[in-house]
Symmetry: D2
Subunit: 338 residues, 4 copies
Amino acid sequence: MIIVLRPDATEANVSHILEKADRLGLRANVSRGTERTIIGLIGPEDKLQAIPLEVFPGVEKVMPVLAPYKLVSREIKKEGSVVTLKGNVTIGGKNILVMAGPCAIEGHEILLSIAKKVKAAGATALRAGAFKPRTSPYDFQGLGEEGLKMLLAVGKETGLATVTEVMDLRDVDLVCRYADVLQVGARNMQNFSLLKELGKARKPVLLKRGISSTMKEWFMSAEYIMANGNHDVILCERGIRTFETETRNTLDINAVPVVKQKSHLPIVVDPSHGTGRSALVGSIAKAGVAAGADGLIIEVHDNPEEAWSDGEQSLRPEKFEQLMKELALVARAVGRDM
Amino acid sequence: MIIVLRPDATEANVSHILEKADRLGLRANVSRGTERTIIGLIGPEDKLQAIPLEVFPGVEKVMPVLAPYKLVSREIKKEGSVVTLKGNVTIGGKNILVMAGPCAIEGHEILLSIAKKVKAAGATALRAGAFKPRTSPYDFQGLGEEGLKMLLAVGKETGLATVTEVMDLRDVDLVCRYADVLQVGARNMQNFSLLKELGKARKPVLLKRGISSTMKEWFMSAEYIMANGNHDVILCERGIRTFETETRNTLDINAVPVVKQKSHLPIVVDPSHGTGRSALVGSIAKAGVAAGADGLIIEVHDNPEEAWSDGEQSLRPEKFEQLMKELALVARAVGRDM
Amino acid sequence: MIIVLRPDATEANVSHILEKADRLGLRANVSRGTERTIIGLIGPEDKLQAIPLEVFPGVEKVMPVLAPYKLVSREIKKEGSVVTLKGNVTIGGKNILVMAGPCAIEGHEILLSIAKKVKAAGATALRAGAFKPRTSPYDFQGLGEEGLKMLLAVGKETGLATVTEVMDLRDVDLVCRYADVLQVGARNMQNFSLLKELGKARKPVLLKRGISSTMKEWFMSAEYIMANGNHDVILCERGIRTFETETRNTLDINAVPVVKQKSHLPIVVDPSHGTGRSALVGSIAKAGVAAGADGLIIEVHDNPEEAWSDGEQSLRPEKFEQLMKELALVARAVGRDM
Amino acid sequence: MIIVLRPDATEANVSHILEKADRLGLRANVSRGTERTIIGLIGPEDKLQAIPLEVFPGVEKVMPVLAPYKLVSREIKKEGSVVTLKGNVTIGGKNILVMAGPCAIEGHEILLSIAKKVKAAGATALRAGAFKPRTSPYDFQGLGEEGLKMLLAVGKETGLATVTEVMDLRDVDLVCRYADVLQVGARNMQNFSLLKELGKARKPVLLKRGISSTMKEWFMSAEYIMANGNHDVILCERGIRTFETETRNTLDINAVPVVKQKSHLPIVVDPSHGTGRSALVGSIAKAGVAAGADGLIIEVHDNPEEAWSDGEQSLRPEKFEQLMKELALVARAVGRDM
């Protein structure tokens, strides 16, 4: 922790800080420059970050030295983590995982139909929502447990791993009984009560980045899950909010190499939510693979015109099939399999 | 709902949309311009918004006509709402309400000490957190029910209305038993499961705006609470996230007159979180009152250096007392009491 | 300048940096913590900032200690600057200056008519554009020198100081001959060639903040003008770009107290561009005064329906007159005159 | 242009708008819904956009139907444009163009050394600045004409096309005499006086997107150049400003497919400025190619530690050479040559 003092800071101000440091058992290093005095405090960063040093008299600003996340960090674990979704379906290795399916579970027939098609095209996981976070209370909110039953059945029939969102922390056990991966939506990325429950779950968690969360905050939310006992976390970049209105969100492709540098966790790109427009999904999916993503999550629907939610960003199965062929070429060009 | 067709849209595309409209019982109005054909669909907006019209062949873009919120809207209720916190403590009338207190409840003694001082300075509500949403799992998470008991006791002793955050939807009943107003933090603004529970509560809700939520989304979250049965909602602007780093957040002062124009709900400004720096709190509090806010929520702590959280944005009681005098002058200048 | 090394940095990495520092005549302070080694370099910050320390082997991050601006800073000049626009029209003292007028100069008659009304209402400066920065090349671009002549004539007839934008650096001398204050628009805030020319001008400059400029960048642009010889700079907050769409821009009220803290230059608030909607101008103007602004710049037009530009954010003269009365009350409440 | 009226709009309000439309020779279409009346105005969009319809009594909001750009639009020109930089160096066809070189021209020797290396690695254009836009007036501002002479000489010796920035509109002719492509920096994207001068130039223009410019504004700036006579415009995405601080800017990869959809102009991606950190350049360059970019612009320096500007985002020649091989594989995977 570096403390920069104001030009008019007094010796009493310096002593006051040094005493506080001493009481906390921290070492201090005082450096007197031409225009500013700087104090470096050495010791456990968590103890340091709990002190509101900004309000100490004479302090101009405080600069942390270490990142606040630990378990997420590549400093602690050098090699990339491989997370197992189900059987031999894994993410984080050489193979790029594709999760595909409809935004919402609408019925057994249509779910099975879509699942078979995405599997034939090469996807190994099925995504579909039983609980839908909707901005409006008047919109369709999902089929709930009835939908989960369909998901389980279709997962069994096709052999696909299943991914579905959990919104209500009381539903964590329920969803664990039916699905292989628990998704945390962007709006719940900092629902800390939910994150703690997920820390106790024994299924992998797909953690979507909040629409205006910094990567550091995203890592801290992953840290919540890991610190509570569940180390199987998969990060998912799904677009951030900017001033641009041509796309629904701005997929932050830069997050892919930054995650790879800072963390050992696998990273998935969501080009469907990341752009919000089906015509852009293909280009952004390819960009994600080229940038080094470990997986993709893509919305596919038999008939987007009749989809109960997010139809405007869903691909038709034939488009998805074509895209998978193109993606395999890009994957190979960057040394990955698909 | 206005549908703009692409320049190359065909008559078949137009007919396809008109048939869909007809099946849904909607009226349609086709206008053929020099460069574009436009279709206006007339009928209930919620039915309209559920159709993914963007994916219909020939469609270029879709523009909604009506705002998606109803109960929140000033169209439905012309006069401003007055919400009662407790006894004769209300918000939304001529009087400006000030809620003040520490970020976190740290103990009975210190809470009582601060409460007495903010009351003496003119505040009529006490804010203090028993459950703290913290970015890091390693930070202090609040005293929980033990803290709520202290809040109840201090509220009784001082006569102040009490405001505290609820983070876990399982705690709604618990918090209702101890506090007068339930606060929803910025990170939970779109925790729809929590909003639904709050819709069933019989205590007013202070709904903070998410750090990157549009005002429309904020209103939709209030709509969730109201549509589930609780009409006592107070909106709170607490700063949005921008590129600027001089302030922790950017308090969006423009939200005050926009809320007044679009909604009948009371609006509170939070200059402590809105700026994140105690030296800026006074100026922004005055700006909030001048812009037309119905209330303020301000962090005050006996000794910010020792505060367990948010010390850098807390005012000392003597500063708060001085500010209250200055605020009263501004309130009077804009025709309000304080 | 603080240099944080990576956990795997070697002694050779440290030596390499120390040698570089030595060659530049800088002092260095090495602090070895439990998890990181930190090097503090002491010496002139400008020399330090020119070295790309991030690329030196073993370096994790580099943190500057000092703000990069000097002449703008309140550290160099403790008391606030008072800038004279013309005669006894000044900004920066106890009195709050109001500049009002149409967006564009449209003709002598209408400019004179508006000027007389804003003067009667209490404004002491007239704002009106002869060169208009328009997003579209097909929009009205201003009357040019013909417009400047009208501005000069109306300024003389009414005694109002005149403020007008200069867009083309070749026009600086021309505009100086006709107007009292040269305005730099938000889009040109980092047009460094223009800023240098303005540094040579002998008229005050009103420097608008770029729509996505940090305050630090804004101060650096003021520094350009001052470092080139012109110390009469007035800062103007006119709204930044965020994700919000209810307002055309988001007026950043927080900029007012931050400018007052960091700089001695006067600060003006522009509620017309800051919101983009005439119905919001009054509330935001009051907020600006309450927050401590030294001046306001407000668009007023006799007939906004017929305005050649920005009609949607212009006030009618009778609304402006009423607002001026309300603003005077707020000014008095915060110890200012108007 | 679609005009949505307020629920309390009167027949007189409707008539007033229809009269205005009639006076301007526009057709009108009135549609009366259950909750709102809507007026569609049909006629030339530029005439429509000049009327401040928001201030007409009874108007709630105004929604434009057509994009404001014409010459830039793919509606006007279906096939993608191919721009010739010099000889047979073109951009916009099957081949992906790579422009590489140092941020600033520092001397003839070092420029030639870098140029030879980037050429050997496969680049066909050399980028290097003689005029540098620097946030601080105290930073190195470029070698000016002396630097341009070096650029011309090195361009001749190596056969590379040359790309350099023009900041001052008085320098357009000068730069045209020495360089093959004129670059407009992000800060000058809406320096309309400069854009007009470039419209008269007979050299291609590389137009960087402003850090907080919407794509629509970017296209309008290209329209300025084209409307003034120069149709050889190349768009360049170089990162936008968001709240994220891990990267210097957020490269908006979504811009690539959006440009391809909306416009016929070639699009270049700048991973050096887009991320600001050399370790991320490779991943983002590959993402750009995979997303469909027509070219890349990459900073390369023999010794980034000694670079006079932007050293932290420059690649060493050997890294660049390796990257070019990897990029060629990705290019082939998406059906392009390099």
